[in-house]
């Protein structure tokens, strides 16, 4: 399985500001994903980060709020824009080699608190 790192591991931010989370993988991967886990809730897919094109967002998530970049096959960023306390969550990136039955492997997560 790939080794995935995320930066920062945690942050406390003021409402109205933006935070960019980085995800780095130690090998080239086809698919990268961004998830959110709100307190007491399950993991929810925000978007699929596509290399060389715009991300594909799930229902309820929009590019203006969660812009995503994926400049190459080992790196992606998720920005949480114009934050409010409701954005306080754990944000996780995951990767997959892209095979239909392949497993997704997760990074350690970024714990975000918005005051």
């Amino acid at each position: 399985s790939a080794v995935i790192s995320q930066k920062p591991s945690r942050d406390i931010c003021q409402r109205g500001t933006s935070l960019t989370i980085q995800c780095q993988v130690d090998s080239q991967v086809t698919m990268m994903f961004w998830y959110r886990q709100q307190p007491g809730q399950s993991l929810t897919l925000i978007a699929t980060a596509n290399q060389g094109s715009e991300a594909t967002y799930e229902s309820g998530f929009v590019i203006d709020k969660f812009p995503i970049s994926r400049p190459n096959l080992t790196f992606s960023t998720l920005t949480v824009s114009n934050m409010s306390p409701e954005d306080s969550s754990i944000y996780l990136c995951s990767v997959s080699s892209g095979l239909i039955t392949d497993t997704q492997y997760f990074g350690p997560g970024t714990r975000l608190t918005v005051l």
Partner: protein
């Protein structure tokens, strides 16, 4: 509406005994299921998976059972060890070409020495 449900938020088991974690789903399009384990301050770690063409998959102390007619799967851990104490998430994927995983809310397992 939750498509993947883990109705037990927590479970306590004595060391050496069997742990059974349950998961129910509603979407009949789900054809691949996974279990993840999560320790505090870490990301979910893949544990075991099962395709809908099977009814059982085993890996060491971990066995996953799938009952398609009941839309139910379970994870058995035998024997349970204190290091198994973690939150366990059930996840499902809907069909070929879909990479989206739908997760349950998790069950916190505590294995008591």
């Amino acid at each position: 509406d939750q498509q993947v449900k883990q109705n037990s938020p927590s479970l306590s088991v004595q060391e050496g005994r069997i742990s059974i974690l349950n998961c129910d789903y509603t979407n009949s399009m789900f054809d691949y299921f996974l279990w993840y384990k999560k320790y505090p301050a870490e990301g979910p770690t893949f544990l075991i998976s099962i395709s809908s063409i099977k009814d059982k998959n085993e890996d060491g102390r971990f066995t996953v059972f799938l009952n398609k007619s009941a839309k139910h799967l379970s994870l058995h851990i035998v024997p349970s060890q204190p290091g198994d104490s973690a939150v366990y998430f059930c996840a499902a994927r809907a069909g070929a070409g879909s990479y989206q995983l739908t997760f349950g809310k998790g069950t916190k397992l505590s294995v008591i020495p």
